[in-house]
């Protein structure tokens, strides 16, 4: 197991290098001049612009620029600075915290609501409850985040406060602490909740058809024990994979939700930095996201072996 983990981590190195190089090239290829963008509407003084270009190595060949950047990251743990000379690591720190809070809130909601509804539907297969749950997941999948975000913000954030005077869901920002993440967390998790509900329903329903469930029943166990111990343990296995892979998705795909609810997270920052051609910031954020992806997948694979004894590494 230990050797497997080390091997996986070593495998992650080329993935990280490749991902950073790719992003570096893409930002490099973007049209427009980052120095010109710095000056906004004004025309920059050519001499100042030239000095800045030299300072940020913008006149060097692409691969050399990449080398300057990656050697800083690898040897000094330095993610570089943006054009305002603010260290990228400092820009990322607080924002990653916000996005991580948001993604974890979404993940917990997904696990609790998605798995819960899925189990409920699976146990009531073909009945009205099942149909209602399936129909609502379909709605949740079909409506884009943009719509659910604004609608829920208006109804739960604004109207409920107006009608009842209770401030349950803050409209935007993170001033109210963790409570502020409930609404955006749900919006972000929306489609994933629906997918997970369906996945859980299918997985449990399929598990309940297996021979060992029949054996468990024949052992004279109660229905609760048959489903709860024998069924659930097996039905959980594919769900863990989905949840793990989704963490990366939630972290990277939160731009719209963060914008709607004015959360100063990584998604917002990434969007701005792409706009400003802040290569080091973009690459830094992507690198950390890739790292989270890789680690989340590793954890999923390890959990897999815990849940399913038939899987052995090495």
């Amino acid at each position: 197991m230990g050797r497997y983990v080390i091997r996986r981590l070593i495998q992650a190195i080329p993935v990280l290098l490749g991902a950073t190089l790719l992003i570096f090239c893409i930002v490099f290829a973007l049209p427009g001049d980052p120095i010109a963008a710095l000056f906004g509407d004004k025309r920059p003084d050519p001499a100042i612009a030239e000095v800045l270009r030299e300072q940020y190595h913008l006149n060097d060949p692409l691969l050399l620029q990449y080398w300057y950047y990656i050697s800083g990251v690898l040897f000094r743990g330095d993610f570089g600075v943006n054009f305002a000379d603010v260290p990228v690591s400092q820009i990322m720190a607080g924002k990653f915290q916000i996005t991580l809070n948001l993604a974890l809130t979404a993940l917990v909601m997904e696990a609790v609501i998605g798995v819960g509804l899925g189990l409920w539907a699976a146990l009531r297969r073909g009945k009205a409850t099942d149909t209602a749950i399936l129909a609502s997941t379909l709605v949740l999948i079909s409506v884009p985040t943009l719509v659910t975000g604004f609608v829920l913000q208006l109804v739960l954030g604004v109207k409920v406060k107006q009608w009842t005077g209770l401030d349950i869901f803050p409209v935007a920002g993170t001033a109210e602490g963790l409570r502020a993440y409930l609404l955006p967390g749900f919006v972000l998790a929306g489609a994933s909740i629906a997918y997970l509900t369906r996945l859980t329903r299918t997985s449990l329903a399929e598990t309940l058809r297996s021979d060992y469930i029949r054996t468990a029943t024949a052992k004279g166990l109660s229905r609760r024990r048959v489903v709860g111990r024998h069924g659930l343990r097996n039905a959980l296995i594919p769900l863990v994979t989905y949840l793990g892979a989704d963490l990366g998705q939630l972290m990277g795909g939160a731009v719209i939700t963060e914008t709607i609810f004015n959360l100063q997270g990584i998604g917002n920052q990434l969007f701005q930095s792409v706009y400003l051609r802040e290569q080091p910031v973009v690459v830094g954020i992507v690198t950390v996201l890739v790292l989270i992806y890789i680690l989340a997948n590793l954890v999923v694979d390890l959990l897999y072996a815990v849940l399913d004894p038939r899987i052995r590494y090495e």
Binding site: Y212, T215, T217, G220, L221, H230
Partner: protein, 345 residues
């Protein structure tokens, strides 16, 4: 206080001369979208303590469905039991509540399944799965129950049981897995054991060992054994009596010796004739013509008539009852005398 299985059912030998287990005119239907599948159409058989009944028949003859009805593990719906009784020591199991039924299932009547790999839960150790019987039904502690599991694994002759108790099903060979299945089923000393094709998935040498083990366990505990199989070779060695099923009915029942000596139903005769024999090497193998009946649309009269070499006109119109040949023998063929005579000629 928690209800035990003894509260639900009287102790051994309760009701006069009721047999241990009696299936009486059982009907099972599956209501599917394509129509009503009549899987079991009036099956009756009995098992006494220490007796082995072999239920013989091809796939779809209703032998497994009957067994699942006895266990109460049919999915209802789609399965429906419109008629019939399953009496265990005089108590009709079909009239018990689902809760009372769980006290019979696994404790008084247990079952072994065909493919032990898929019938054992892949994510729990075999020890956990065997000891679950003691933990759930006897309220034993984990360590106590685990000790009992090791004892059982010893009893079904799994080598190094003490070490292997913590292994998972996939770490065992096919024969060993079936032994674990058996250990689990006999954990609480059931009075009836149903073995649904217990050796079909195993190779021949292992088959013999498993059958021997079952016979031995039966001798020790005097349980009634229902052996469901399509393998006539297995039956001859261990069974006391045989019930041959076709299209959800029993077409012939008889003590095992009688049936091998002279079958009284053309279907049984066909089955016996299709066993490969050394002294007929080089000859073409005999096979019963035609296909098994469509349970959605059973033939009129005798269900076997489209495939029967002795078919007469009334076979197409009149369904034969199970004619009594002797006190222990019956045949559902209008012409059972001719079949018997043909054999004797």
């Amino acid at each position: 206080m928690k209800k035990t299985s003894a509260d639900v059912l009287p102790a051994v030998g309760g009701q006069g001369n009721e047999p241990l287990l009696a299936v009486d005119n059982l009907h099972v239907e599956f209501h599917t979208r394509a129509g009503v599948v009549r899987a079991v159409n009036g099956v009756s058989y009995t098992v006494a303590p220490g007796e082995t009944l072999a239920v013989l028949g091809e796939s779809g003859s209703g032998k497994s469905v009957t067994a699942q009805a006895i266990m109460g593990i049919l999915d209802m719906p789609p399965a429906v039991i419109p008629k019939g009784e399953i009496r265990f020591k005089g108590t009709d199991l079909l009239k018990l509540s689902e809760h009372d039924r769980t006290h019979v299932r696994g404790q008084r009547i247990a079952m072994i399944f065909q493919d032990a790999l898929s019938a054992l839960n892949p994510v729990f150790t075999v020890g956990w799965q065997i000891s679950e019987m003691f933990r759930v039904h006897r309220g034993m502690s984990k360590s106590e129950a685990m000790k009992k599991a090791v004892e059982l694994m010893d009893r079904v002759r799994i080598p190094a049981a003490k070490q292997r108790v913590h292994d998972y099903p996939h770490q065992f060979s096919g024969g060993m897995r079936q032994r674990i299945m058996i250990a689990m089923s006999i954990a609480l000393d059931p009075e009836v054991l149903i073995a649904d094709e217990p050796t079909t998935a195993l190779d021949v040498t292992v088959q013999a060992q498993i059958m021997e083990l079952l016979a031995e366990l039966q001798r020790e505990s005097q349980m009634g054994l229902i052996l469901i199989t399509h393998d006539l070779g297995v039956v001859a060695d261990v069974a006391d009596k045989i019930a041959v099923m076709y299209a959800g009915r029993i077409v012939e029942n008889a003590p095992v010796y009688d049936i091998y000596k002279a079958p009284a139903h053309p279907y049984t005769k066909g089955l016996l004739d299709s066993i490969p024999r050394v002294d007929q090497k080089g000859h073409e193998l005999y096979a019963i013509k035609g296909l098994p009946p469509n349970l959605l649309d059973l033939p009129t009269g005798c269900a076997f008539h489209p495939r029967c070499p002795l078919r007469q006109e009334n076979c197409v119109t009149d369904a034969p009852p199970l004619y009594e040949i002797s006190g222990t023998r019956g045949s559902a063929c209008h012409y059972w005398r001719e079949v018997l005579d043909g054999e004797r000629r």
